[in-house]
Amino acid sequence: MSLALYRIDDRLIHGQVVVGWGQPLDCSFIVLVDDEVRGSDWEQDLYRMGVPPHIEVVFASVDEAAEKMAVWEADQRVGILLVGDIDTAAALATRANQVKRINVGGIHHRAGRSERLRYVYLTDDEAAKLRQLAARGIDVSAQDVPSARAVPVGEFT
Protein backbone atom coordinates (compact mmCIF):
# COMPACT_ATOMS: atom_id res chain seq x y z
CA MET A 1 0.00 0.00 0.00
CA SER A 2 2.88 2.39 0.76
CA LEU A 3 2.36 6.09 1.46
CA ALA A 4 -1.36 6.77 1.07
CA LEU A 5 -1.25 10.46 1.95
CA TYR A 6 1.26 13.25 1.41
CA ARG A 7 0.02 16.04 3.64
CA ILE A 8 0.96 19.66 4.34
CA ASP A 9 -0.22 20.54 7.84
CA ASP A 10 1.42 23.15 10.06
CA ARG A 11 0.26 21.26 13.15
CA LEU A 12 2.12 18.16 11.91
CA ILE A 13 0.95 15.19 14.01
CA HIS A 14 -2.45 15.88 15.57
CA GLY A 15 -5.94 14.46 15.89
CA GLN A 16 -7.09 14.96 12.29
CA VAL A 17 -4.06 13.05 11.07
CA VAL A 18 -3.89 10.24 13.60
CA VAL A 19 -7.62 9.65 14.02
CA GLY A 20 -9.35 11.44 11.11
CA TRP A 21 -7.12 9.95 8.39
CA GLY A 22 -5.27 7.27 10.33
CA GLN A 23 -8.36 5.25 11.21
CA PRO A 24 -10.01 4.95 7.78
CA LEU A 25 -6.65 4.40 6.07
CA ASP A 26 -5.64 1.83 8.69
CA CYS A 27 -2.36 3.69 8.95
CA SER A 28 0.60 1.81 10.46
CA PHE A 29 3.34 4.41 10.13
CA ILE A 30 3.71 8.17 10.00
CA VAL A 31 6.72 9.84 8.41
CA LEU A 32 7.26 13.37 9.74
CA VAL A 33 9.60 15.30 7.45
CA ASP A 34 10.89 18.40 9.18
CA ASP A 35 14.52 19.43 9.59
CA GLU A 36 13.88 21.21 12.89
CA VAL A 37 11.94 18.36 14.53
CA ARG A 38 14.50 15.87 13.20
CA GLY A 39 17.17 17.75 15.14
CA SER A 40 15.32 17.82 18.49
CA ASP A 41 14.72 14.75 20.68
CA TRP A 42 12.42 16.84 22.84
CA GLU A 43 10.18 17.78 19.87
CA GLN A 44 10.17 14.16 18.68
CA ASP A 45 9.01 12.90 22.09
CA LEU A 46 6.26 15.51 22.04
CA TYR A 47 4.93 14.45 18.64
CA ARG A 48 5.22 10.77 19.49
CA MET A 49 2.93 11.32 22.49
CA GLY A 50 -0.03 11.93 20.19
CA VAL A 51 0.31 8.60 18.44
CA PRO A 52 -0.99 5.23 19.67
CA PRO A 53 1.72 2.58 20.17
CA HIS A 54 0.67 0.46 17.17
CA ILE A 55 1.59 3.29 14.79
CA GLU A 56 5.30 3.74 14.11
CA VAL A 57 6.58 7.30 13.82
CA VAL A 58 9.61 8.03 11.64
CA PHE A 59 11.33 11.41 11.84
CA ALA A 60 13.32 12.49 8.81
CA SER A 61 15.08 15.53 7.43
CA VAL A 62 14.29 16.49 3.83
CA ASP A 63 17.59 14.90 2.76
CA GLU A 64 16.85 11.67 4.57
CA ALA A 65 13.28 11.58 3.26
CA ALA A 66 14.41 11.99 -0.34
CA GLU A 67 16.71 8.99 0.11
CA LYS A 68 14.21 6.77 1.90
CA MET A 69 11.12 7.57 -0.14
CA ALA A 70 11.46 4.46 -2.29
CA VAL A 71 11.69 2.27 0.82
CA TRP A 72 8.56 3.80 2.33
CA GLU A 73 6.70 3.49 -0.96
CA ALA A 74 7.61 -0.22 -1.07
CA ASP A 75 6.42 -0.80 2.51
CA GLN A 76 3.61 -3.37 2.82
CA ARG A 77 1.93 -1.19 5.43
CA VAL A 78 -0.07 2.00 4.90
CA GLY A 79 1.76 5.20 5.79
CA ILE A 80 1.13 8.93 5.99
CA LEU A 81 3.86 11.45 5.18
CA LEU A 82 3.62 14.87 6.84
CA VAL A 83 5.36 18.17 6.19
CA GLY A 84 4.69 21.45 7.97
CA ASP A 85 4.94 23.91 5.10
CA ILE A 86 4.80 24.36 1.35
CA ASP A 87 8.55 24.88 0.95
CA THR A 88 9.30 21.51 2.54
CA ALA A 89 6.72 19.85 0.29
CA ALA A 90 8.22 21.51 -2.77
CA ALA A 91 11.77 20.55 -1.74
CA LEU A 92 10.71 16.95 -1.29
CA ALA A 93 8.78 16.84 -4.57
CA THR A 94 11.84 18.18 -6.38
CA ARG A 95 14.08 15.53 -4.86
CA ALA A 96 11.69 12.55 -4.95
CA ASN A 97 9.58 11.78 -8.00
CA GLN A 98 7.37 9.48 -5.90
CA VAL A 99 5.38 12.53 -4.82
CA LYS A 100 2.35 12.40 -7.12
CA ARG A 101 -0.35 13.88 -4.87
CA ILE A 102 -0.28 16.54 -2.19
CA ASN A 103 -3.03 17.03 0.36
CA VAL A 104 -3.21 20.53 1.85
CA GLY A 105 -4.60 19.73 5.28
CA GLY A 106 -4.01 22.85 7.33
CA ILE A 107 -2.07 26.07 6.79
CA HIS A 108 -3.25 28.61 9.30
CA HIS A 109 -3.39 32.35 9.66
CA ARG A 110 -0.20 34.35 9.92
CA ALA A 111 0.64 37.94 9.02
CA GLY A 112 0.57 38.37 5.24
CA ARG A 113 -1.66 35.37 4.58
CA SER A 114 -5.30 35.63 3.51
CA GLU A 115 -8.11 33.11 3.95
CA ARG A 116 -8.54 30.72 1.01
CA LEU A 117 -10.51 28.06 2.84
CA ARG A 118 -11.56 27.75 6.48
CA TYR A 119 -8.33 25.83 7.20
CA VAL A 120 -6.06 27.24 4.47
CA TYR A 121 -4.47 30.70 4.63
CA LEU A 122 -1.84 31.59 2.05
CA THR A 123 0.29 34.47 0.91
CA ASP A 124 0.16 35.11 -2.84
CA ASP A 125 3.66 33.66 -3.06
CA GLU A 126 2.59 30.45 -1.30
CA ALA A 127 -0.47 30.13 -3.57
CA ALA A 128 1.85 30.47 -6.58
CA LYS A 129 4.11 27.74 -5.21
CA LEU A 130 1.17 25.37 -4.92
CA ARG A 131 0.13 26.13 -8.50
CA GLN A 132 3.72 25.48 -9.62
CA LEU A 133 3.61 22.06 -7.98
CA ALA A 134 0.36 21.33 -9.81
CA ALA A 135 1.91 22.53 -13.08
CA ARG A 136 4.59 19.87 -12.61
CA GLY A 137 1.88 17.20 -12.77
CA ILE A 138 1.30 16.75 -9.05
CA ASP A 139 -2.32 16.42 -7.97
CA VAL A 140 -2.68 19.20 -5.37
CA SER A 141 -5.93 19.51 -3.43
CA ALA A 142 -7.11 20.73 -0.04
CA GLN A 143 -9.03 18.45 2.31
CA ASP A 144 -8.86 18.63 6.10
CA VAL A 145 -10.64 15.35 6.87
CA PRO A 146 -11.63 12.38 4.63
CA SER A 147 -15.35 13.18 4.83
CA ALA A 148 -14.78 16.67 3.37
CA ARG A 149 -14.63 17.42 -0.35
CA ALA A 150 -11.16 17.52 -1.88
CA VAL A 151 -10.90 21.08 -3.21
CA PRO A 152 -8.75 21.27 -6.37
CA VAL A 153 -5.81 23.68 -6.23
CA GLY A 154 -7.41 25.97 -8.83
CA GLU A 155 -10.31 26.70 -6.49
CA PHE A 156 -8.29 28.05 -3.58
CA THR A 157 -5.09 29.59 -4.97
Binding site: D10, R11, M49, G50, H108, Y119
Partner: protein
Protein backbone atom coordinates in the same frame (compact mmCIF):
# COMPACT_ATOMS: atom_id res chain seq x y z
CA UNK B 1 -7.44 39.55 27.82
CA UNK B 2 -7.06 41.58 31.01
CA UNK B 3 -5.47 39.91 33.98
CA UNK B 4 -7.04 41.08 37.22
CA UNK B 5 -5.64 38.30 39.42
CA UNK B 6 -3.70 39.16 42.53
CA UNK B 7 0.02 38.61 42.09
CA UNK B 8 1.07 34.99 42.35
CA UNK B 9 -2.46 33.57 42.21
CA UNK B 10 -2.58 30.25 40.36
CA UNK B 11 -4.66 30.23 37.18
CA UNK B 12 -6.08 27.24 35.29
CA UNK B 13 -6.04 27.43 31.49
CA UNK B 14 -8.05 24.79 29.66
CA UNK B 15 -6.71 24.07 26.17
CA UNK B 16 -9.02 22.08 23.92
CA UNK B 17 -10.46 21.28 20.54
CA UNK B 18 -13.64 23.13 19.55
CA UNK B 19 -15.63 24.48 22.55
CA UNK B 20 -14.77 21.80 25.12
CA UNK B 21 -12.75 24.28 27.22
CA UNK B 22 -15.49 26.89 27.20
CA UNK B 23 -18.07 24.31 28.28
CA UNK B 24 -15.87 23.06 31.13
CA UNK B 25 -15.37 26.61 32.43
CA UNK B 26 -19.14 27.14 32.34
CA UNK B 27 -19.75 23.83 34.13
CA UNK B 28 -17.30 24.66 36.94
CA UNK B 29 -18.94 28.05 37.38
CA UNK B 30 -22.40 26.47 37.46
CA UNK B 31 -21.38 23.92 40.10
CA UNK B 32 -19.15 26.04 42.35
CA UNK B 33 -20.02 29.63 41.61
CA UNK B 34 -16.28 30.26 41.24
CA UNK B 35 -15.37 32.41 38.27
CA UNK B 36 -12.21 34.05 36.99
CA UNK B 37 -9.73 31.32 37.87
CA UNK B 38 -10.24 29.20 34.73
CA UNK B 39 -9.63 30.52 31.23
CA UNK B 40 -10.74 28.60 28.10
CA UNK B 41 -8.52 28.38 25.02
CA UNK B 42 -9.70 26.67 21.82
CA UNK B 43 -7.38 25.57 19.03
CA UNK B 44 -10.14 26.31 16.49
CA UNK B 45 -8.62 27.82 13.35
CA UNK B 46 -5.17 27.99 14.94
CA UNK B 47 -1.79 27.12 13.57
CA UNK B 48 1.11 26.71 15.95
CA UNK B 49 1.89 30.42 16.21
CA UNK B 50 -1.70 31.53 16.71
CA UNK B 51 -2.29 28.96 19.43
CA UNK B 52 0.93 29.99 21.18
CA UNK B 53 -0.32 33.57 21.18
CA UNK B 54 -3.70 32.54 22.61
CA UNK B 55 -1.87 30.67 25.37
CA UNK B 56 0.38 33.63 26.11
CA UNK B 57 -2.62 35.91 26.47
CA UNK B 58 -4.55 33.44 28.60
CA UNK B 59 -1.71 32.73 31.03
CA UNK B 60 -0.78 36.39 31.40
CA UNK B 61 1.80 36.83 34.13
CA UNK B 62 1.29 33.31 35.51
CA UNK B 63 1.68 31.03 37.40
CA UNK B 64 -0.67 28.60 35.70
CA UNK B 65 -1.63 25.00 35.11
CA UNK B 66 -2.53 24.18 31.50
CA UNK B 67 -5.28 21.56 31.36
CA UNK B 68 -5.09 19.95 27.90
CA UNK B 69 -7.82 17.74 26.43
CA UNK B 70 -5.74 15.01 24.77
CA UNK B 71 -2.29 13.57 25.53
CA UNK B 72 -1.08 14.49 22.04
CA UNK B 73 -1.85 16.81 19.15
CA UNK B 74 -1.74 20.54 18.62
CA UNK B 75 -3.17 21.50 22.02
CA UNK B 76 -0.51 19.47 23.79
CA UNK B 77 2.44 20.42 21.60
CA UNK B 78 1.73 24.13 21.99
CA UNK B 79 1.14 23.79 25.73
CA UNK B 80 4.29 21.73 26.29
CA UNK B 81 6.39 24.23 24.32
CA UNK B 82 4.94 27.07 26.37
CA UNK B 83 5.64 25.31 29.66
CA UNK B 84 9.18 24.53 28.57
CA UNK B 85 9.82 28.27 28.35
CA UNK B 86 8.00 29.19 31.57
CA UNK B 87 9.09 27.61 34.83
CA UNK B 88 5.86 28.58 36.62
CA UNK B 89 3.60 26.74 34.15
CA UNK B 90 2.71 23.03 34.42
CA UNK B 91 0.75 20.85 31.97
CA UNK B 92 -1.83 18.15 32.64
CA UNK B 93 -3.52 16.11 29.88
CA UNK B 94 -6.91 14.40 29.81
CA UNK B 95 -8.76 17.26 31.47
CA UNK B 96 -12.08 16.39 33.07
CA UNK B 97 -14.64 18.20 35.16
CA UNK B 98 -13.68 16.38 38.35
CA UNK B 99 -10.06 17.57 38.28
CA UNK B 100 -11.16 21.14 37.61
CA UNK B 101 -13.60 21.11 40.51
CA UNK B 102 -10.78 20.00 42.79
CA UNK B 103 -8.34 22.50 41.30
CA UNK B 104 -10.43 25.62 41.86
CA UNK B 105 -10.49 24.91 45.61
CA UNK B 106 -6.77 24.09 45.87
CA UNK B 107 -4.79 26.82 44.21
CA UNK B 108 -2.46 27.80 47.03
CA UNK B 109 0.22 25.35 45.91
CA UNK B 110 2.94 25.47 43.21
CA UNK B 111 1.84 24.67 39.62
CA UNK B 112 3.69 21.34 39.51
CA UNK B 113 1.99 20.19 42.73
CA UNK B 114 -1.39 21.35 41.43
CA UNK B 115 -0.78 19.37 38.24
CA UNK B 116 -0.03 16.18 40.19
CA UNK B 117 -3.07 16.75 42.36
CA UNK B 118 -5.24 17.18 39.24
CA UNK B 119 -4.06 13.86 37.82
CA UNK B 120 -5.08 12.17 41.06
CA UNK B 121 -8.46 13.92 41.34
CA UNK B 122 -9.27 13.43 37.66
CA UNK B 123 -8.23 9.78 37.67
CA UNK B 124 -10.41 8.96 40.68
CA UNK B 125 -13.45 10.13 38.71
CA UNK B 126 -12.94 7.59 35.95
CA UNK B 127 -14.55 4.31 36.87
CA UNK B 128 -17.13 1.77 35.84
CA UNK B 129 -20.35 2.05 37.80
CA UNK B 130 -23.54 0.02 38.07
CA UNK B 131 -23.92 -3.73 37.87
Amino acid sequence: MSDSRPNGSLLGVIVSHAAVAQALVAAVAAITGIEGVLVPVSNEGCGTEALAERLRQAVGKGPAVLFVDLPGGSCLTSSARYAKQHADVAVVTGVNLAMLLDFVFHRDIPPADAARRAVEAGGKAIRVTGA
